[in-house]
């Protein structure tokens, strides 16, 4: 269980996150909805330990405090993060990217098993092992990024705007993949622009506005909430 309690992040005088609390249980998908600049990326980056701002509050995973840890030790604790723009090693091959994903001790211990799982989920990566990651298409790079994160054998997988730049078909595949990953018992924390598709696979959702959590509900209730529809689902007209 990933627990965030009273998390605040400031960049100098600017407060990007204010007293944010949320939880992600194993085997559930939690989506965070919010406008640009609401602090969604800051939230995930703070949990992953790569946020440049000043963070206070508490982030813990199964009783282990994460906030004081550096990013490599957060991976070791069991939280993997796919940042916006994917953050893969462009100059390295697919194979090198995936094996680096299992660099942590917890990943190394179950490397073969996780590699089989990743290739099962993304057969294309098995075919393209020797390809330099930079030369792949956007969708394939996203597979490398998610596959690499899974190689760390995490309890919680966090993704920042994974559908960005993907075609509608690839988007659909991506969300199917995420619900498949949930099936393995991993918790998934997702930040998405694509509210409709992400809520469709999610269990719960949070609304983040101006750095504060302003709502929390079951994903289905959120899909049917007129206020959420108006703000994130393209208005009532688009709702069916």
């Amino acid at each position: 269980m990933l627990g965030v309690t009273g998390l605040s992040v400031s960049y100098g005088l600017h407060r990007a996150l204010d007293d944010v609390s949320l939880a992600v249980a194993p085997g559930e998908i939690v989506v965070i909805l919010g406008a640009n600049g609401a602090g969604k990326s800051t939230l995930l980056r703070a949990i992953a330990g790569i946020c440049e701002g000043q963070a206070t509050g508490s982030v813990s995973l199964g009783g282990t405090d994460l906030l004081a840890r550096t990013s490599d030790r957060i991976v070791e604790a069991g939280v993997a993060f796919v940042p916006e723009g994917r953050g893969i090693f462009g100059d390295l091959t697919v194979w090198e990217n995936l094996t680096l994903g299992a660099y942590s001790e917890r990943g190394r211990a179950r490397r073969a098993e996780n590699l089989a799982r990743v290739f099962d989920l993304f057969p294309k990566l098995a075919e393209r092992k020797r390809q330099t990651a930079r030369t792949m298409s956007g969708g394939e790079q996203q597979m490398v990024a998610i596959g690499r994160a899974m190689m760390a054998n995490p309890d919680i997988l966090m993704l920042d705007e994974p559908s960005l730049g993907l075609s509608p078909l690839l988007c659909k595949e991506l969300f199917q993949t995420l619900s498949h990953i949930r099936g393995t018992g991993m918790g998934v924390l997702l930040v998405e622009q694509n509210a409709r598709q992400s809520l469709a696979i999610a269990d719960r959702g949070y609304l983040l506005e101006n750095g504060e959590i302003t709502g929390e509900a079951e994903a289905e209730a959120m899909l049917n909430d007129p206020a959420v529809q108006a703000a994130y689902l393209g208005g009532a007209a688009a709702a069916t």
Partner: protein, 287 residues
């Protein structure tokens, strides 16, 4: 033919020196202006042990490597790491590291002048040797072979082992490296130390055929910089080709025109690369 062979032999040793700076700048992101002094220290050790104890410079390599590794690791921990932690941007880190390592280079020069203020003159394997009709000194050939062996070992480590791959990952992106569980500080310190050790060993090898003195470090810093920038930062293959090219051009200019113009020639290539291919010979344009 003379120029080709002598130039390639010289270039091989240059490649090793550039590999040292590449590990320090390409991976640890520290522009180390005391790099040349580390090289001269390696040469001083060879001179000293040869003159005092008759120890072969090849044996000295095995002493210099671990000592330089430990010394550079300490320099990183004590002097560089506070700068890395403080720096908010790479630009700020560049300015800080250039100024502090430039200062450090004077400390090294002072220390070396105190130890031995004259030329490090000694003669080791200066016998003539003939390859493909060209006569070269055996020491140049030995230095070249040693440089190739060390360079190949480093390449094998970087491209074929998990820890080497982690080093390359850090050179691509420190943030992404942290996100896969790599301890970026530890890997950077390690790369900096290996880079320093490679440079010092390069100095030991070079001192067998070039007479060094305490103040010559800056010339080698510049040569290494020229090679690294010409080959593309972090690009080992580019650095090797750039080093061979520099060795060839220096030898050609020294033989055909005048030995005094070698540095001029080096800068002419360097400026042309900066003007026409700033990303290096094989580098991609920064996106």
């Amino acid at each position: 033919m003379d120029i080709l062979i002598s130039g390639l032999l010289l270039g091989g040793t240059y490649a090793l020196i550039a590999m040292g700076l590449n590990l320090q700048y390409g991976v640890a992101r520290i522009m180390n202006l005391a790099n040349g002094e580390m090289l001269v220290l390696g040469g001083l050790a060879a001179f000293w042990l040869f003159v005092a104890d008759g120890l072969s410079p090849i044996a000295t390599v095995f002493l210099v490597a671990p000592l330089a590794f430990a010394g550079n690791w300490l320099i990183y921990r004590l002097l560089i790491r506070p700068l890395v932690r403080r720096a908010k941007t790479q630009g700020q880190l560049d300015v800080d590291s250039i100024l502090s390592t430039f200062g450090m280079s004077f400390i090294f020069v002072g220390l070396m002048v105190t130890i031995h203020g004259e030329y490090f003159t000694y003669s080791y394997l200066a016998d003539p040797f003939s390859i493909l009709g060209t006569t070269v000194a055996v020491n140049r050939l030995v230095a070249f072979i040693a440089a190739v062996a060390i360079g190949a070992a480093i390449c094998f480590w970087l491209y074929r082992t998990q820890s080497g791959t982690a080093v390359r990952a850090v050179s691509v992106s420190t943030e992404a490296a942290g996100l896969v569980g790599i301890n970026v500080e530890r890997v950077s310190a390690f790369a900096f130390a290996i880079g320093g050790a490679v440079t010092a060993v390069g100095g030991t090898l070079i001192s067998t055929f070039i007479t060094l003195d305490a103040s010559m470090g800056v010339i080698f810093t510049m040569k290494a910089l020229i090679i690294v920038i010409m080959g593309g930062v972090g690009d080992i293959r580019g650095a090797i080709i750039a080093a061979l090219l520099l060795g060839l051009v220096e030898t050609a200019v020294a033989t055909i025109i005048d030995p005094g113009l070698t540095l001029v020639a080096a800068y002419v290539i360097f400026l042309s690369v900066l003007l026409f291919r700033p990303q290096g010979l094989f580098g991609r344009r920064a996106s």
